[in-house]
């Protein structure tokens, strides 16, 4: 009792002060500490989580190449982001379409600059990890067959001309933000963007030699499962970190992220168990990632029951897309970047418009809370993102093709495996 009233008094006393400071940006050390940790968590998702997740699914002869492409995507995007990416995404808005070049090479940003309650450097780094993982996700559609030089050029162009504009529209004060589109941690910016980009790139590249005729076994489901676990761990920084503060909404985002991932793992596994008579580890790992993808745009807006529905549907939808639709249509999205990230990201963006709950995040209401217009806004943001990404990626791919004289490795090299033909290394020496 006594303690309670003491706390009450303290809050009451503190109120006028916080009100007085509300106008000026003040660094909050709790927020800053959490955001530094979140940034490190999201960083891990690319060279550890995604590299293992994808590497384990690629064939044994291309395992290292998958790692190399993931690592190089992270390194390149990190550098591009600091040189011009951050400025294009978060610089002074130009017509709602793109950021200005005022902050290239982090110009005008100092140690004491703040974004909200955290240092701008931390904010820029946090956002950088998102750019890195988005382009690395595209890989999932095209492993086993792309030239390394083409991948490098593609990464530079794609981050600059496809990722940065969309990040600006949604998070940098662009037109989608003005329109009121809700994307908490990157359903459109990251997942739909990467899924559609991957699909376009894989269609232009063509199928792998022997696709659909010869078996293409994953090199190691063990590595994939470990990668999924690291992605899951890092995703807490991705989603709960996207609140940009250590507060109740961050906690709520953490809760729904974990729940959605868990139930999606179970639903994918169950669908597979019923459909194919076996609950596979790859299915469980894929379901977890599908659930994480779907909750991403919704994380800071929805409550626990909504996260159960979002995850449940994501697991079933992901399974349906990769195990049924893909087999029927016959495109070669090698590791299902489109099936998992594109489709479940779309579901998540729609679900945000349905389940956004003003009791979680004040003023953000979806269809079920009396704001059907939100769903319409979400649909516009999905279509605009997918359309822009598709067109932008086609242009980027053809420019890349011109610059690197083709996109695909030689036939012999593809059959021999890219680890040996490109890198001159082997992933394992097993005797």
């Amino acid at each position: 009792m006594k303690l309670k009233s003491l706390v009450g008094t303290a809050i009451f006393l503190a109120m006028p002060f916080s009100a007085a400071f509300a106008g000026d940006a003040v660094l909050n050390s709790g927020d800053t500490a959490w955001m530094i940790v979140s940034t490190a968590l999201v960083m891990m998702m690319t060279p550890a989580g995604l590299a293992l997740f994808y590497g384990g699914m690629s064939r044994y002869k291309n395992l290292l190449n998958t790692f190399a492409m993931t690592f190089v995507a992270y390194c390149l995007s990190s550098v591009i982001w600091m040189m011009w990416g951050y400025s294009l995404s978060f610089g002074t808005d130009i017509g709602g379409l793109i950021g200005g070049l005022g902050n290239v090479f982090m110009m005008g940003i100092e140690v004491n600059s703040l974004s909200g309650t955290i240092p701008t450097y931390v904010f820029a780094l946090f956002q950088m990890t998102f750019a890195c993982i988005t382009v690395a996700l595209v890989l999932g559609s095209i492993v086993d067959r792309m030239k390394f030089s083409s991948w490098i050029v593609f990464t530079v162009l794609w981050v600059t001309f496809v990722y940065c504009p969309i990040a600006h529209w949604v998070w940098g004060g662009g037109w989608m933000a003005t329109m009121g589109a809700l994307d908490f941690a990157g359903g459109t910016v990251v997942h739909i963007n990467a899924g559609v980009g991957g699909m376009v790139l894989s269609l232009i590249l063509g199928k792998r030699i022997g696709y659909g005729k010869e078996p293409m076994f994953p090199s190691s489901i063990t590595l994939t499962a470990l990668g999924a676990a690291l992605l899951w761990f890092g995703w807490f920084g991705f989603n709960a970190g996207s609140q940009l503060a250590a507060d109740g909404i961050a906690g709520s985002a953490f809760l729904v992220t974990n729940t959605s991932a868990s139930i999606a793992g179970l639903s994918w596994m169950s669908a597979e168990w019923i459909h194919n008579k076996r609950p596979t580890v790859l299915g469980l790992a894929s379901g977890i990632v599908a659930g994480l993808v779907a909750i991403t745009p919704a994380a800071g807006f929805v409550n626990l029951p909504a996260s159960l529905v979002i995850g449940l549907v994501a697991g079933l939808l992901g399974f349906f897309c990769v195990a049924v639709v893909k087999q029927k249509i016959g495109y070669d999205d090698s590791l299902d970047a489109f099936g998992v990230h594109g489709m479940c990201g779309t579901w998540g963006a729609l679900a945000t418009g349905i389940f956004a709950n003003p009791a979680v995040n004040a003023g953000k209401a979806g269809l079920l809370y009396g704001n059907p217009n939100q769903l319409w806004i979400q649909i516009i943001s999905i279509v605009a993102t997918a359309g822009f990404t598709a067109v932008g990626t086609v242009i980027v791919v053809y420019v890349t093709k011109m610059l690197t004289k083709g996109l695909r490795v030689e036939k012999d090299d593809e059959i021999q495996g890219l680890d040996s033909s490109i890198h001159g290394e082997r992933a394992f020496e097993i005797e």
Binding site: M57, P215, M216, F217, P218, E272, N276, R278, T280, L282, G283, S286, V322, A323, V324, K326, Q327, D336
Partner: protein, 112 residues
């Protein structure tokens, strides 16, 4: 001399080795092989992509014995490797013309 080649389930290797040691067989050569017979292969499904795995891992044992021991050795292997299920394997018997011990140059039965 006879050479006996037995293709068996890998986990039965130790049983077979012990059974042959009991009747005085001093050495053998084994290799890991793959194949299929009536057991056939199995199916693996990765995210809906179905692959049939035709060849199942087996162990091949090769042992050369004096002709008069051949029947006994075959029977010992058969008993030790038997599980009663499909895929227990096969045993083949060949005639051997000559055997030479590399170290000493001994020939025939002395060499095995």
């Amino acid at each position: 001399m006879k050479k006996i080649e037995a293709i068996i389930k890998p986990f039965k290797l130790d049983d077979v080795k012990e059974a042959l040691n009991e009747i005085g067989i001093q050495g053998m050569t084994i290799s890991e092989v793959k194949g299929y017979g009536r057991q056939k292969g199995h199916k693996e499904i990765y995210r809906g992509a179905e692959y049939v795995v035709d060849f199942i891992p087996k162990v091949k044992i090769e042992v050369v014995v004096p002709a008069e021991m051949a029947n006994q050795v075959v029977e010992k292997i058969r008993q030790a490797a038997n599980t009663g299920k499909l895929g227990d394997g096969k045993i083949f018997v060949f005639s051997v013309e000559e055997a030479v011990r590399v170290r000493t140059g001994e020939k025939g039965k002395d060499a095995i």
